[in-house]
Amino acid sequence: MSDNKQDASGGESCCACSLDSRRTMLAATVGAGAVVGLGVATPFVASFMPSERAKAAGAPVEVDLSKIKAGEMITVEWQGKPVWILRRTPEMIAALSKNDAALADPASERAVQPEYVKGVARAIKDEFFVCLGVCTHLGCSPNPKFAVGSESGMGDAWNGGFLCPCHGSQFDLAGRVFKSMPAPTNLVIPPHAYLSDTRLLIGKDSAEA
């Protein structure tokens, strides 16, 4: 070790270039190395993003509505997430506005939903409620609680709706969240369109190809 040190200091004194230019050279090399390092890190960071295959998945899904009875709900998979289609009875639709006073955002002003979904019922056709079955709090899928009143186990004022099992957020039958729930906003309505009276396309805003 000590021999090497002596060699190095000996080399310094006989070298023509100054110590300063050696330092500059060293700094430049380290700087260039850092740039290369960043370049090398890029693919590793980029590999964390969804792959092309993951991005390509999630084609629109077609659903036959004729098999759903009034008051029944089916769940279909779209982009790996549950999409609910609930065929609401006239009583269910009538009861929706009764909830307004207890809701956080009854007019769905802050909700994520397509423009063509308007009003209290949050649907193109009031009868069919199409909704992403994913709680806006932390992404659990709420459970249907369609029974009304005390038999629902949700209290006497319950007009039917959904209860998230994870943190207890409650939603009405139009996916609107009640006040002071963990979920900040109403449930999301995905883009959807009617191909005919009984055929629904989920994942697209219009029936055109």
């Binding site: 932390l138 659990c140 899928s141 998230c164």
Partner: protein
């Protein structure tokens, strides 16, 4: 006789050969035979070495599990996810596989039991106090790694709880303003928890985090052996040394504490074996029943809760509702104010100011990002003062912050004595309340949101009170640790 002598001579020669090339004897002396630990270690000092033992159990059983496990979310011919099926295969078809897996799953819970007790020992005897701050911080980093390790590992069986647990925790990151939604996609590698998520969690669980963990354990031990162990009296044994520079109250780690620890290990392994052989599911606490169903991305189980070791922090997340936020805000501001007054550390003073400013900005702050209004929204001269980040964000901040608070202990504790033996009634009361709150929060976290004690006392308000008490333990420490009536510390360690 001559034969023996030849063998010992050869062994000596071999050792000499190694020592010239690697400091084997030096290491053995520094860390075992001539590492002088205080002679008054008690029951609470078992858990450090036990944590090391569990780490070894987890690594060894883990290696064997990886030989049969497949991180693959696609469905097999029978329509079952391959990952889930491979765990079933280990349980049913691999010879001894059942026990290896039970050792690993029991080991996870035992790891947290041992580490929580190890941390509690630190609280009892002030082991985080100067000069052991870095040991404590390395320990905190180990605790965080352990939580990450447990979380990543829990996804691998690809059961219902695996899937929905990961879904909830990854979605927590979505609450971070601006970058949140993209960050959660970045973590999952997909728009939903999927095969990509499973594969990367597998990589983190089996190699990335364990490597960091081992490094941190080494740092924890190196720092410990640099300053020396604390003890139940909280006095420094290095103050009184004999002529050879050996602490008068110190005894060599080997053989004294190796023997003591082997005794602890034996008792621990008996308990461990009883669990593995007779109660591997731990009553649904160690292995949750819903995880025996394969992951279904369309249906959340009726009751989901994290594994028990996360529930205290999870409860605090759940307690942070928009109703509770104003109360919580007021208490945190009050606690931060008292911390500010009580602490002597300028960095903690600055952190308190930053915390209050951040809370104000976040909760009553700006409308810029269009966040949802909190319940109180006073309007002054047409400006909304009450538009801030919503309860979801604060829940996440609460959960993360409550874990990190442990890291501040070395600078929060202003008591003139380290050990609980010489601390006053105030500290003892507050520590008891803290432990009760922690256990209650943990218990409530395993229950459904609407749980009530005996069907009478609703769990929500209890969790809210416990959250405040938890925060107060840390936040008020600079104040109560100073005014508490302490007893004088002895000069040297005592043997009780």
């Amino acid at each position: 006789m001559t034969c023996c002598k030849i063998v010992t001579d050869k062994a000596q020669q071999l050792l000499g050969w190694v020592d010239e090339r690697f400091p084997l004897t030096t290491l053995y002396r520094e860390h075992l035979a001539e590492y002088y630990a205080p002679k008054n270690f008690n029951f609470w000092y078992f858990f450090g070495s036990l944590a090391l033992l569990v780490l070894v159990i987890q690594i060894v059983t883990g290696i064997f599990l990886v030989m049969h496990y497949k991180p693959d979310a696609s469905l097999n011919a029978a329509g079952v996810p391959v990952a889930f099926a491979s765990v079933e295969y280990i349980m049913r078809d691999v010879a001894g596989g059942k026990f290896i897996r039970y050792m690993h799953s029991t080991g996870a819970s035992m790891f947290f039991i041992v580490v929580y007790l190890h941390m509690f020992r630190g609280l009892l005897y002030g082991s985080y106090r100067k000069p052991r701050e870095l040991i404590w911080l390395f320990g905190m980093a180990i605790f965080l790694c352990l939580m990450a390790e447990a979380f990543f590992g829990y996804l691998l069986p690809w059961g219902q709880m695996s899937f929905w647990g990961a879904q909830v925790i990854v979605n927590l990151f979505e609450a971070i303003p601006v970058i949140g939604p993209d960050l959660s996609i970045f973590i999952r590698g997909d728009f939903v928890v999927s095969d990509a998520t499973l594969n990367r969690f597998f990589a983190f669980h089996v190699i990335a985090i364990p490597l960091v963990l081992l490094g941190l354990v080494a740092a924890h031990l190196i720092a410990l052996h640099e300053v020396g162990s604390n003890n139940p009296d909280g006095v420094e044994i290095k103050k009184y040394k004999d002529a050879n520079g050996i602490p008068l109250d110190g005894i060599p780690f080997h053989p004294y504490y190796t023997v003591k620890d082997i005794f602890g290990v034996s008792i621990f392994l008996i308990v461990f074996a009883i669990i593995v052989f007779f109660a591997p599911e731990g009553g649904g606490y160690f292995l949750e029943f819903n995880n025996f169903f394969p992951a279904d991305s369309l249906k959340t189980p009726a009751h989901i809760a994290p594994v028990w070791y996360f529930t205290p922090f999870y409860s605090m997340l759940r307690a942070t509702t928009s109703d509770f936020l104003p109360v919580l805000w007021a208490f945190v501001a009050l606690i931060a104010g008292l911390t500010f007054r009580g602490t002597g550390c300028v960095w903690i003073k600055r952190a308190c100011l930053l915390l209050v400013a951040g809370l104000y900005w976040g909760f009553f702050g700006l409308t810029v990002f269009g966040f949802t209004p909190p319940p109180i929204d006073p309007v002054v001269l047409g400006v909304h003062l009450g538009r801030g980040l919503d309860a979801k964000f604060w829940g996440v901040a609460m959960m993360g912050g409550s874990v990190m608070l442990f890291g501040l202990l070395p600078w929060l504790d202003q008591s003139p004595v380290k050990s609980i033996r010489y601390k006053g009634p105030l500290f003892k009361t507050i520590l008891t309340l803290f432990v009760i709150s922690f256990v209650l929060l943990g218990f409530l976290g395993t229950k459904a949101p609407g749980y009530a004690f005996f069907g009478l006392i609703p769990g929500g308000p209890v969790a809210a009170i416990c959250t405040i008490l938890y925060l107060a333990f840390f936040g008020l420490m600079p104040w109560y640790s100073r005014i508490d009536k302490t007893k004088p510390e002895p000069e040297r360690v005592t043997s009780k």
